[in-house]
Symmetry: C2
Subunit: 307 residues, 2 copies
């Protein structure tokens, strides 16, 4: 799957991923109205609106992008119905040939991490049968519990030829409270980065590892150091756009082959029609606004990294 | 809810919580057979078996225990159907008067953490209506992203009078890889503990805070230090029993009032009938074996802490 991700990035010349993180407040009135007319102001209605909204964006932009990153929290907030929309979104994106990165930030120990890995990347055994569950291609994983928490994911990834992105340095302001603390002269995130590089050696694709890292766009100096510490790990870069990360800061996240990073934008793409720049599209054409925002983002990033 | 937890612990004289972490391999043959006869070897069948197994244990032991801790990963591994069983288990345990600690170890930033908090502790707004979702009383939260990740949970907890347990020092072997690293002369888990104490000041119950901590039973020396750093935080203690933690090691996790900690056992209780000690119960009476294991655990812990 890391090979497919690399191929798709090259084919589409687009080292980006669209974060499908829907909030009801982003969804245009006509979609909300239709869903509520059909299902009422219910959880089913909300989930239907989320799904139709996602579908519109995917239909409008799938030919331009290699991957999507649905943020499960945005679905989990609607309970079971929301999670059905999460699953529907994953299945649809895969039908459209997209690589799906489930932004789930799970992490536990031993059999518990194994259960998460099964639920999101693997297959569960029931009697003599096996079932796929959410079935993302990659998921994000939290490293706080150490190797015990990561290893069960890697085991499932090996079976399924899938991958993970481990949180190393997150894009938020308070990420430094623990991640930047100095240990033997180096910040914690560097030490986590070293573990990612080691874990990655266990499960290599053709040129990159199936074990990648999350490093926020908002910390380019740190991105530069981490790029060197984890030369074979793909870096998933959140924080571009709405969170303040700029294209000119992104060069250090890439390797000399022009690969090695994939930049995420969520709100900046999916709610593009709400920005002044794209307001002429209006809510009715929100998906076209998202497509235009994808085109602009690709140009912005390729320009800045000299691709 | 922290007040209710304290009251229930006192009333039942049992500072323990039963981890409802079902694996199909734990479930007695007669339950599996009935569920598969009805639903086939399907995800629905697996979820039904999990639910019936949980129900049996809860029915047998609810009068002895203050709380349960379902581990969501064990349900998530069966996808949507598993999560329905998770929700059914929560609702049933609340009907039985139990405090429900959702072991979800979520954690993200800003609106994303807010979405998790909504999905598990709060209510989501859909049009003019509000809905409860999974509706646990407490959840566990991962601190790696810092205050940005924790604050949205505390905000929802304030509205709902609910609480969280933040991972500080986990019970697993590799927890030390990051959690024990020395920063300014002190291990990271102590620094996280200090944040927990601070976060906890923002949302106090009568005697304890709504912001608790997870500290593994397998590290009693660290438990002793953390007890002092977070005097008003309840400590959720995993790792007793199957993971190797012993009752005599648990005293330092408690305050002088005999409160301040709640010790979890999962496999040791729910799969008690598989242990030699309780094997005479047999699979048919697995729930009675679980009840006896609860009685023994309470005596073991109360004896050791001199309660």
């Amino acid at each position: 799957m890391i090979n497919k991700l690399v191929e798709e990035i090259q084919k589409k010349n687009a080292p980006i991923v669209v974060g499908l993180d829907p909030m009801l407040s982003y969804i245009p009135e006509h979609i909300i109205k239709k869903a509520f007319d059909e299902y009422g102001e219910t959880l089913e209605g909300a989930a239907e609106a989320v799904w139709q909204y996602n579908k519109g964006i995917v239909d409008a932009a799938y030919d331009l992008i290699p991957a999507v990153k649905p943020q499960i929290a945005m679905y989990e907030q609607f309970g079971i119905e929301g999670l059905k929309a999460f699953k529907k979104t994953i299945d649809y994106c895969k039908e459209k040939g997209l690589v799906v990165i489930g932004d789930i930030k799970r992490g536990d120990i031993g059999t518990t991490s194994a259960a998460y890995a099964t639920g999101h990347l693997g297959k569960v055994q029931v009697g003599n049968k096996k079932y796929s569950l959410f079935d993302e291609d990659f998921v994000t994983v939290n490293p706080y519990l150490g190797t015990d928490g990561i290893k069960p994911f890697i085991d499932v990834c090996k079976e399924e030829k899938k991958g993970i992105f481990v949180l190393v340095k997150t894009s938020n302001k308070s990420s430094g409270e623990f991640q930047d603390r100095i240990i033997d002269g180096r910040p914690l995130y560097e030490i986590v980065g070293e573990y990612v590089a080691q874990w990655g050696e266990e499960h290599m694709g053709d040129t990159y590892s199936y074990v990648g890292a999350v490093v926020g766009a908002t910390y380019p100096e740190m991105g530069k150091v981490l790029r060197k510490i984890m030369p074979k790990s793909f870096i998933l870069v959140p924080g571009y756009g709405a969170q303040g990360g700029k294209a000119e800061d992104l060069k250090p996240y890439f390797n000399e082959d022009g690969l090695g990073a994939i930049v995420n934008s969520s709100r900046g793409i999916i709610a593009a029609y709400k920005q002044e720049k794209y307001s002429s599209f209006g809510g009715a054409n929100y998906a076209d606004a998202s497509r235009q925002a994808v085109v602009d983002m690709i140009a912005d990033i390729n320009g800045a990294i000299g691709r």
